[in-house]
Symmetry: C2
Subunit: 187 residues, 2 copies
């Protein structure tokens, strides 16, 4: 077998970057090929299902990323809640390059007739909220309070990214990260 020109991790990263900024319909195979350094036909070798499969694989990667960097961080035993929150927020900042990048869950939410993609998006959002709900409960909030805060944290992230993009000003995301911290700060 020939050696891979680009390993799976870098490949997914490049594909994700294009889908994130252009959306599913806006991302052409030429765009995706250019971003990865591969030719279109090579992408079909890696992803026989074409662009559809690429989107599914990228979202699978995002699910795993959120599980490792948000869910497992926030549900780890023996670590102070404030510390875990700080870590999760730091990872979130890295994921969105401090507000410079928009969210792929949002970018792939537009109607494109792909049921699988919609299911993945909701799975990821639910995982995020589950993680922050667990944090809130650990902090002593009631289940209902924790669930509300978890929802608000996701609203803050998604909404602020929309503003940062629409106004070309990442400070909206940065301010929202402060608000997320406040949400889970017991005073």
């Amino acid at each position: 077998m020939r050696p891979q020109k680009i390993d799976d991790a870098k490949l997914i990263e490049g594909l994700m970057s294009v889908l994130q900024s252009k959306g599913f319909e806006g991302a052409s195979l030429n765009d995706l090929a250019k971003a990865t350094g591969l030719q279109k036909a090579s992408l079909y070798h890696r992803f026989p299902g074409g662009k559809n499969e690429i989107a599914v694989m990228v979202l699978e990667f995002v699910y795993t990323w959120i599980k490792d960097n948000i869910y497992l961080v926030l549900t780890e035993k023996g670590v102070a809640p404030a510390t875990k929150l700080q870590r999760a927020i730091q990872h979130t900042k890295e994921l969105y390059q401090n507000g410079e990048k928009s969210c792929i869950l949002n970018a792939l939410s537009l109607d494109s007739g792909l049921v699988a993609v919609g299911d993945q998006i909701s799975k990821i959002m639910l995982l995020w909220m589950e993680a922050f709900t667990a944090l809130g409960v650990e902090q002593g909030f009631t289940a209902a309070q924790a669930k509300a805060k978890a929802r608000q944290s996701l609203v803050l992230v998604q909404g602020s990214l929309v503003l940062s993009k629409g106004l070309s000003d990442p400070s909206h995301f940065q301010k929202a990260m402060v608000d997320v911290k406040m949400l889970f700060t017991n005073e």
Copy 2:
């Protein structure tokens, strides 16, 4: 001249609906034609600049709508702030069909190389925040506080719409509307 098959208002409404749900790249001229009952060539007669001009005109309509239904409502003299807020929230619910529809500002935010569209989106977002800032100031908040609340109100709307879409659950938008009200409720 032949009579218009569809008047400008209904035309823009139909075009907006498609752009809102499919985005700029996802909305084909066939989609737009079908939604309006016109043929593609007829759309080009109404909008010689093609899809690009359609998007610009739709966003111009949205700007006017926000001005009339949010900005002018919130800055009207001689009406109690709480009343004005209630009205603006009601209009917002109508605009997004209580969380069933997503925001066209978000849908058209994906990179498509259209500078004019980006400028319009930021103009509309700024108008929204200006309106809510005025409300906050009238209620006695400091300028900085009012500005922060205005930003948060837009974050709540945009973020909750992303959740409502991603989770196929408009209740997230509805809860956010309650949060917006709380934001500007002096207790």
